[in-house]
Amino acid sequence: MKLRILIGCLLLVLFSNAQSTAGKKKTSGSSKTIPILNFNSLEPLLHTKSDKIYIVNFWAMWCAPCIKELPVFQEYEKNNPNVEVVLVSLDFPEDIETKLKPFLEKKGITSKVVLLDDPDANSWIDKIYPNWSGAIPFTIIFNAKNRSYHERTFKDIQDLNNEVNNLLKNKEHEKK
């Protein structure tokens, strides 16, 4: 009897395991889901306790300078395993399937994308960074210790790399 229960449990665990693996594979494909967040659900993504470096970029399809710099983040993430990029889209939720997903696919963007839909921007812009005017592109680079804010476009990978290095330098500095 006990044995049967155990076998049952084991099968269940194996099954759920397989399922989540399948789910995971799916998210890395083109049909990945883009979660719609409000500020409160976005907020945890702006901090880390891990050893990784996070680059969180606020952008939208309607923002020409944003689109221009997207490949910089994409490339940088590819070349640096310790870097995680989160692209926070300020596009419209109703455009996710019809415009946003096709756009990302066309541009070959595989970085994590979330959509921030929280209309009263005045209430949360200051919570992200008091000196941010609200214009995009806007990028936060952070690790567990340091963070820097950039209300500007990154010209190229070198430009982004310099800012990441500045962040790490600050960290070294603090240790001394």
């Binding site: 084991l10 907020e43 945890p44 901090h47 306790k49 209309p119 921007a121 200051d126 000196n131 995009i136």
Partner: protein, 233 residues
């Protein structure tokens, strides 16, 4: 025999559970789901930044704005002093193409219709006017103004002479001036760009009402998401 079998199964179960947990942990990338950190991000050491509000050399509340002479879509030159008996001016930096600017076009029209007779006209300025971008060209501005039947002036800030003085960084970006051209409110029109029906706070109307009552607008500074003003410098 039976006992060792049981043992083996239990071990397998534990391993299975652990790997499944591992998968879940990997799925949840990076920052903790329920980070204790709330409110403004603290611990910002030496933030690197450029072109932020703090470095912006635009007007602050109480500064006196200078008048200007800009070309309107009707081809004439327009100055704030052309509006006679003005009690104030709703100066808004906007443009043709920005979706956020477009979402506010109708609201700017009704704002002007309601408040121009009361002495507060909308004065729209396009800081992104460009001869090389045919969607932001002067002709495109004329076309848009005609399509939407703008009841207010729509001015071309050619060579971006005015926008750096005001310090507008995004479109739309509103500056409410009083009769003496003193800046009384800087920011957004209301608290919901995407849906006019869901607006709860009409910042600009509240600010005008405050001026009417001889009070200072509160708040006198708000922020919003908008398209960046394309500085050509």
């Amino acid at each position: 025999m039976k006992k060792s079998n049981l043992f083996l199964l239990a071990a397998l179960l534990v391993v299975g559970l652990m790997t499944s947990m591992n998968v879940i942990a990997q799925d949840r990338k990076g920052p903790p789901e329920n980070g204790e950190r709330k409110g403004p991000p603290g611990g910002g050491h030496n933030p690197e930044q450029t072109e932020t509000l703090s470095e912006m050399k635009g007007y602050k509340i109480g500064d006196k704005a200078t008048d200007f002479e800009l070309k309107n879509v009707d081809g004439t030159l327009f100055s704030l002093s052309d509006i006679k008996n003005a009690k104030g001016y709703i100066v808004v930096f906007t443009c043709n193409e920005c979706p956020f600017a477009k979402m506010y076009e109708d609201r700017l029209i009704s704002l002007h219709k309601e408040y121009a007779p009361k002495g507060y006209s909308v004065v729209a300025i396009n800081p992104n006017v460009s001869a090389t971008n045919d969607r932001e060209s002067f002709e495109a501005m004329q076309k848009r103004a005609k399509e939407k039947k703008f009841p207010f002036v729509y001015l071309a800030d050619t060579d971006q002479k005015i926008v750096p003085q005001y310090g507008a960084l995004r479109t739309p970006h509103v500056f409410l001036l009083d009769a003496q051209l003193k800046v009384q409110y800087i920011g957004t029109i209301d608290d919901n760009a995407k849906n006019a029906k869901d607006v709860k706070v009409t910042y600009i109307e509240n600010a005008i009402r405050a001026l009417e009552n001889g009070e200072k607008p509160n708040p006198n500074f708000t922020k919003s998401i908008g398209c960046p003003v394309k500085f050509s410098r």
